[in-house]
Symmetry: C2
Subunit: 210 residues, 2 copies
Amino acid sequence: MSTQNKRDRLVESAAILFHHNGLSATSLADIAKHADIPIGNVYYYFKTKEELALAAISKRKEQFSAAYRLLDDNLPDPRQRLIEAIRYFDKVSAEYTRYGCPIGKIIDDADTEKDTVAQTAAQVLGDFVSWAQQQFGQLGHNDDAQTYATTLMAGIQGATIMAKASRDESVIKKEMIRLVTWVESLPNKRIQLGKIGMRNVDATAASNAA
Amino acid sequence: MSTQNKRDRLVESAAILFHHNGLSATSLADIAKHADIPIGNVYYYFKTKEELALAAISKRKEQFSAAYRLLDDNLPDPRQRLIEAIRYFDKVSAEYTRYGCPIGKIIDDADTEKDTVAQTAAQVLGDFVSWAQQQFGQLGHNDDAQTYATTLMAGIQGATIMAKASRDESVIKKEMIRLVTWVESLPNKRIQLGKIGMRNVDATAASNAA
DNA sequence: GTCTATAGACCGATAGAC
DNA sequence: GTCTATCGGTCTATAGAC
């Protein structure tokens, strides 16, 4: 088994256990056992627990970014992209009801003003907001794009907590339907390309995303 | 200093530290130090850490219940009661942005299927939902009352996480304005007492709350 | 009732043999 | 690179003097 494999296994086990049991409640011994690697060996790959946690959360960050790229590349309609993103959380509703959102959990658990792990987790939510903002912008809602994007992610996070509290995944399913309905109800205020013969109306929406 | 005073101080210190630093990250030594009580003495009042945590979260539960009673007794309009409840979270936006919601944090942190502390925290959210459901019911939205109440609490929880992630309390303030606007926009579908000469239309809404 | 001292388990992290 | 053994520290919880 290669060195890279063991490192990857450690990161994956850490990500799972942090999600299921929380950051501070998960020990390095737990992670090593889950990855089937002797505890002392962990420190060959990561100098501290924080470093391993950072690698775990960074991996999640990249996975989400890859998902946004996939949506952007395969769906031409920004509205449809948003709806598919919402449907993702519907798909993982059982897992989120049981364990909470892996990102929201870390943000809730740690100090976002000092802890670099929590700050990286916060970036994951920030990435979603930036991406969603871009989609709302492309629907012509330039002024409200950031507010809408934040409301959307807040709706997902809030639904997860309510579902976990009541141990009822239908809470997430109902809230995701509500959010999809909301996104569907938004008018497309964007100037249509064909109708006025412009090629770069997207530029406004794109510059609005940073 | 009386025995009851020391017990109360321990519970209050525990509630504060659990909110600020999290349940599993707060040690009994931290709590004892904050309450200015020797560590060994803690076990005279509480047999285990869980027992102290349960007392702390139960106290919060009662404080919130008292607040609902205060709203019910002083505001005749259920819509106004809901708006005042939302405004509470606007008032504590700075604290929630920094430390998260004291209830949501515990639910996120612990296993709601096994941990009795997390289950009590879940009851606090359940109490809010029941109370809000009653208000929506009294506005005549009997069929949607529970869904509306859950969406409202989810909006508050989600806004808190987004605010903590971005370290920007204006996120909570904006989302609370959105929720107030939403509550204000709901029509009053309730049959008016004076107009049809009935005295007990409330009964339907009240039975809907359980 | 109050407090000191400490047991016993577990934590993150390190040293060093192989 | 890999793993065992273990250190020093902190945790919950207890024993027992006052």
